[in-house]
């Protein structure tokens, strides 16, 4: 089963990260922006797990668990901010949050 090489997994992580990053730059909906951040975090975790599998060590999976906890914390706070955003600005478009524009 060792025929999957490390660079295949890392290329997959890079592709997923790039898709999430492109979505983060192009989409204007706050929920989709949070989902794109989740995609990027997941791709980072995939790179950790692939690197751990390269050496047959558990450290990569441990780091993925920390990424998982951080993603859960980030999405809880982010969605709370989205709810407040919607209540105060009556929309979810991040371009509407321009009150501090000089």
């Amino acid at each position: 089963m060792a025929s999957v090489s490390l660079d295949n997994a890392l290329v997959l992580a890079a592709i997923l990260f790039a898709i999430g990053f492109a979505g983060l730059l192009t989409r204007r909906n706050l929920i989709v922006v949070l989902a794109c951040i989740e995609i990027m975090l997941n791709a980072g975790g995939l790179a950790f797990v692939a690197a751990g599998a390269r050496w047959g060590q558990a450290d990569g999976q441990v780091m993925f668990l920390f990424v998982l906890a951080m993603a859960a914390a980030e999405v809880a706070v982010g969605l709370a901010i989205a709810i407040r955003f919607r209540q105060s600005l009556k929309s979810l478009d991040i371009d509407d949050a321009d009150e501090m524009k000089g």
Binding site: S5, N8, A50, L65, A72
Partner: protein, 204 residues
């Protein structure tokens, strides 16, 4: 195992592309669930079954349900999901594609085989509660802070005052009961505490 990896990788990339391109929010989030399932299969083929299970349980189960609950709570299918113009996505996408090509070139120059050994839950747990136990403590503190922060941010401004008032009332009531054990005299200065069947403030 190799075929499984490639199939799951293709599914992951396609469904992630759908996440980024769909304008319907619920459809995008459901595609994201598919993408996470595909990444879980990739984890399994990489010899990490414990992390694959956690990906399904925590990411696809808990975090995506949180997303869907927020979408339903906000009722966002009503408003226009995106206002981006037709060619505004072109510039960032091209730049990201250039960066991706560079990264892929850098990764694929030196091909390395995986170790091939499956790292099961026992090894992960021994590492987690051995050298990484401080990180576990920090993660628990981070989650606690996120819990309190999310509750504080999502609460409306009036709720804080109401909660403080109801806590004040409850404290006054408890103090009155402690000072005066007689049931009839426990009213004290708080008029709402007089009958025993005070409707409790559910929001506190």
């Amino acid at each position: 195992m190799t075929a499984m990896f490639y199939i799951a990788a293709v599914v992951a990339v396609l469904s992630t592309l759908m996440v980024v391109t769909r304008t319907n929010l619920v459809h995008a989030l459901l595609y994201l669930v598919i993408s996470l399932f595909a990444v879980a299969v990739v984890f399994y083929t990489l010899g990490a079954p414990f992390v694959a299970a956690l990906e399904v349980i925590v990411y696809a189960g808990a975090i995506m349900m949180l997303f869907l609950f927020a979408v339903m709570l906000l009722n966002v299918s009503a408003d226009s999901p995106t206002r981006v113009s037709r060619i505004a996505w072109l510039g960032p996408t091209i730049l990201v594609a250039i960066l991706l090509a560079e990264v892929v070139y850098g990764i694929t120059r030196h091909s390395q085989a995986l170790a091939g050994a499956e790292v099961g839950p026992q090894a992960v747990s021994e590492a987690l509660y051995g050298p990484y136990v401080l990180g576990v403590e920090l993660a628990s503190m981070l989650l606690l802070a996120a819990l309190i922060g999310a509750r504080h941010v999502a609460a409306r401004a009036g709720d804080e005052q109401e909660a403080a008032e109801s806590m004040e009332r409850a404290r006054a009531k408890a103090a009155g009961r402690a000072a005066l054990p007689g049931p009839g005299l426990a009213a004290g200065p708080d008029p709402t505490a007089a009958p025993d069947v005070v409707p409790e403030d559910e929001d506190a």
